[in-house]
Amino acid sequence: MVVWSKYMNGNINKLVLTLIGFCLVGIAAQAQVTIQGRVNSNGKALGGVRIELQREVDAKMLAYTFSDGEGKYHLQTVQSGKFTLLYKALSFAPVSVPLTATQTDTLIDVQLVAGGVERLQEVIVHSKQPYRRGRDTIELTVKSFLQGDERTVEDLLRKIPGINVGTDGSIKIGDKEVEKVMVEGDDFFEKGYRLLTQNMSVQPLEKIQVLQRFSNNKQLKGIENSNKVALNLQLKEDSKAQWLGSVDAQGVPIGPKYYQANANLMNFGKKNKYYLLGSANNNGVDAVSSINHLIQSGSADEPGQIGVGISTPNLIDNTPSLPGFDYKRTNFNNDKLLSLNTILNPAPKFKIKWLGFANPTKKSFYRNTVQNYHLEDIQFTNTEDYQFTRKIDNYFTKLELQFEPNAHTTLSYSGTLGSLGKNDVGALLFNGDQSQELTKSKGYLTNHNLSYSHKFSDREALVSSIRWIKQQSPINYSIDRYYYKDLFGKGDITGVKQHIENNLDYLGATTHYLNRKKNGDFFELALTTAYQQQQLNSQFILQDDQRKAGESDIYPEGFSNQMDFAVFQTNLISKYTFKRSKWEWTPRLQVGIVQNRLTDFGKRSHKNSLQLAPSLLGKWAVHYKGRLETELYFQQQNASLTELVPNYYSTGVRNFIKGMADMATLSSSGATLTYTYGSMTDRFFANLNIGHQILFDYVGMESSLDPNFNLAQQLLLKNKKSTFYKTDLNYYLKVLSGNFRLDLGANSADYETVVTGLGNRQIHTDTYDYGLSFRSAWKSRLNIHTGYTIQSITYRSESKNTLKNSRGFLNIFLNMGKNIQCNLKNESYRFGSFLAQDSKTYYFSDFSLSYELRQHRTRFSMTAKNIFNTRFFRNTELTDLYNSSTEYKLLPGYISFGIDYSF
């Protein structure tokens, strides 16, 4: 008790001092009225009594306090006039004391008697949660976060608790990056939202909405599983649309002339929004990739989608494939892109979105391939020197309409129209013989989708869609030299050409019902039906140049097609997820009736089949750090068009291919198991994957090999088995403040191929991957990420071939203060020795430095590419038929300087 009185004494002293102080101030300036006293009941001090000072006129509360443990209180006001003092406490009758404050210090003691509210026993039901607009929307008023020094939306977001803005402009709510930043519900940029948040002024903003568990389809909100977060910026009623944007340019002042330039211009009004983008470069960057998200909207895994990814097959493709290597280094290009985008909201329930772009581009690459066949008595080596230039002329437009007749229904339409032109010129030196390969394609594409979404309740929704696609991708192909004497016989042939008609018509409809049960279980039922008709007409022609073109053309037998393939397919898909706190199971069953009709030069054949695809997916939280996932499936599917082409067509200088004889149904089955231990924030974190797959029927290949041509015929074969193991182990080592990661992987497969003259070959292939890497998380300005991976591939048949490739990297990040950042990326590639060539290592190093002047909205940058000026790169490849090594010409080293300005 001694302590308490000391404490109280201190308080009283303070109180007295404060009172004296107040009195003095009161005399000096305006009269300040202090009211104090004691509250008692039956002679006992009463604490916790509310004393409220009200203005008598309007009962406005001027001040309030609660009596302390000794019943004492003290109030003050600068107002004068008539007041009411109101004393109120539970279990006591309220007392009000009228008061005219004339003195600066008034003392009022009060006695309370029992009464008033004596009993409370209530359960309060909040009928709504008024300050969250629904459970997943948080609305923030912009002005309560403004401190006056904000310029852009990003500056404002930095001030809001709970939002984390990275140095690169990425926005996170908690730990989750936002999916998109919309303006009045409209969006152009998706994950590229930086362009908006770093440029748009904070001026027109009224509110910011944080949309959790965000769904792209509004009617599926709360029904489909979603972990996405998005932001929506709401503008003031009277806000004026402003033009804003950015320009950036970089170029090489001396030496090879490489450049890149971009200009963005946008205008966001409450109703209408415009966005213009212009881009050009010759430094290897694919300009159109920057608007990929604008061209493709809606992902295939969303409910109620149909016909996603349906297109004509790509029959002749000469572009290089360099897995794991930055293709920009080999891409000698001249890209230009102009894109116009607009969103109009003519009525509150109606939205129009339009996009158009033109992309005149030129791409070139140079490669030099040595291909070695070494199969018993089939032994030869081919060399190809190839210089390839492609001119692209693409024009594309897309219109989206969205109409919401009521809050539960959305009707949307999306239509695209595209003209896709390609003109390839390849200068080829094949085994020392010079020729020119031309591939021309002028295709067009139109794709229309109408979708209807309806939400029956918070748990049930229906999405129905209908899609129509029409695409034509004709190809004119020619080589001005005759390499096929051994195939078609000698003659006065000077060149070959091939014309291909490659058409697609598609009409599909689906209706998809979703139901989230009360206990968290999830049920889906979908009915899809689609009609797809594809035509492939090809004609391979041997040309005699001596006479007039067309007069003496030879059409070799078995090298032309007039094919029409129609598939009418109806599927019923049902899926049910049983969800409990520690586990979930999802059985899924797909039953389909498929009618195929193939017409080969007027000769029709039919095949009808019933296709089944059952699967079972399970997830189980084994213990608080471990999680297990497993999938079992059986699948039956149709053979595709290219697997059924009855006769040969050419796919490049020495390759002819044709499909298998019958319209087979391909069955397969498999199982996968994934175990995850810990999470990314744990020092130890590991993933383990195991899988096994059996293809009961698969499309294999019979190859007829000759140095000048390869006739590949697809065959139906049985029982291809493959197994994979994959694991990554992560350990954060405290002493080094960094994570060590060990990657181990193994794949093996057993299957058959056929080589004419050698018969059926049993192939066994093994791939092993080993990787070790270290990534630092040092507090210092410097951080590194380094690692080394080795891959070993083996093919075993008549003989055994092994190839070992490896890659190393060291990336150094240096943060030299708030506005200066630089990084140095180093890579090395080492390819195993074969084809009598020694193994060789290639080194690459790129450096970039940027300096930002935030207050001037300007950023300066310097980039040094390919510092070692490595001009050639030789890649090696091993397949079950051959091994090859390909040398690519690379963009030279250069140093460019750039400036980026926002307005």
């Binding site: 509310r50 539970l90 309060i124 909040h126 949660q129 690169d168 009360k518 997830k619 608080y624 990534r775």
Partner: protein, 271 residues
């Protein structure tokens, strides 16, 4: 009981005496005749709801928050999430404790229990007094109560409270209170707001206060500053572990700015 505890007091330093005094006052009763019991639902995120019991006897307020969230079925039937969210909630917290806040009327110092990595601490918080702005005309009816709006700046964020004049106690959830009436709803303005909703109120309350003062006294003691710094060190380490594991994004450096997953964003010593 007073005598039994008294010798132990003298062995402790001054600060610790305060703690025990608060508890003591509560146990021994006070000038306020009857106790009030309020039950709040606390929602730190859309994924979880905790129950918080508040006891007030006119002088001392004790708030006790459950260590585990309410079962999904009990709160909002549409809560979902795959196995992952429920599962990740248990990661890294082998042991869970109820969170207790003890506060005396007019005293700036508050006591609270908080835990790090399964160790519970008794933390002293030199609580900055809340300067409530009650000058709003906004009125809302929550349950049967007419509620008035009030706001107060608090540790880097703004508190928004709705209180009722009908229940004249300066009580609210967690560390908050000091308004002319019981707080019926409270949240902080943030992209990750924490919400408290009053669910139940009982007066007079005859039940027990489920805290064990011997246990609370036995906890290791820290000031809030010490606790927060200790916690930040661990969080920062976890962030670095995460950063060292996430897939590389070209040229990205992680921002040094911290976002705390609670109402309290910036403390007095951090200005």
């Amino acid at each position: 009981m007073k005598r039994g505890l008294a010798p132990a007091f003298t062995k402790l330093n001054n600060m610790h005496k305060y703690y025990i005094f608060f508890l003591f006052l509560f146990v021994s009763g006070s000038s306020f005749a009857q106790r009030l019991h309020a039950v709040y639902e606390y929602m730190p995120s859309p994924m979880a709801t905790f129950q918080e019991q508040v006891y007030y006897d006119g002088t001392v307020k004790i708030a006790v928050r459950d260590s585990v969230p309410k079962r999904n079925q009990d709160i909002n039937k549409d809560i979902d999430g795959e196995v992952a969210p429920t599962f990740s909630m248990t990661i890294g917290s082998g042991k869970l404790y109820n969170k207790i806040v003890i506060q005396q009327n007019n005293a700036s110092q508050q006591l609270e229990t908080r835990s790090i990595e399964g160790v519970n601490y008794l933390v002293t918080d030199q609580f900055p007094s809340l300067v409530w702005n009650t000058n709003y005309t906004d009125v809302d009816t929550l349950g049967k109560y007419v509620c008035h709006k009030a706001t107060a700046p608090y540790r880097g964020t703004t508190l928004v409270a709705y209180y009722t004049h009908d229940i004249p106690v300066p009580v609210g959830p967690s560390k908050f209170g000091g308004l002319p009436g019981l707080i019926v709803m409270l949240y902080n303005e943030s992209a990750n707001p924490n919400y408290w909703y009053l669910k139940e109120v009982n007066y007079p309350y005859a039940g027990n206060t489920p805290i064990n003062d011997t246990y609370i006294q036995s906890l290791p003691k820290l000031t809030l500053e010490e606790f927060v710094k200790k916690n930040d060190r661990i969080t920062e380490e976890q962030m670095r572990i995460l950063y060292s594991k996430i897939p590389v994004v070209e040229g990205v450096n992680v921002e040094g700015k911290k976002v705390r997953g609670s109402v309290e964003q910036v403390y007095e010593w951090e200005h």
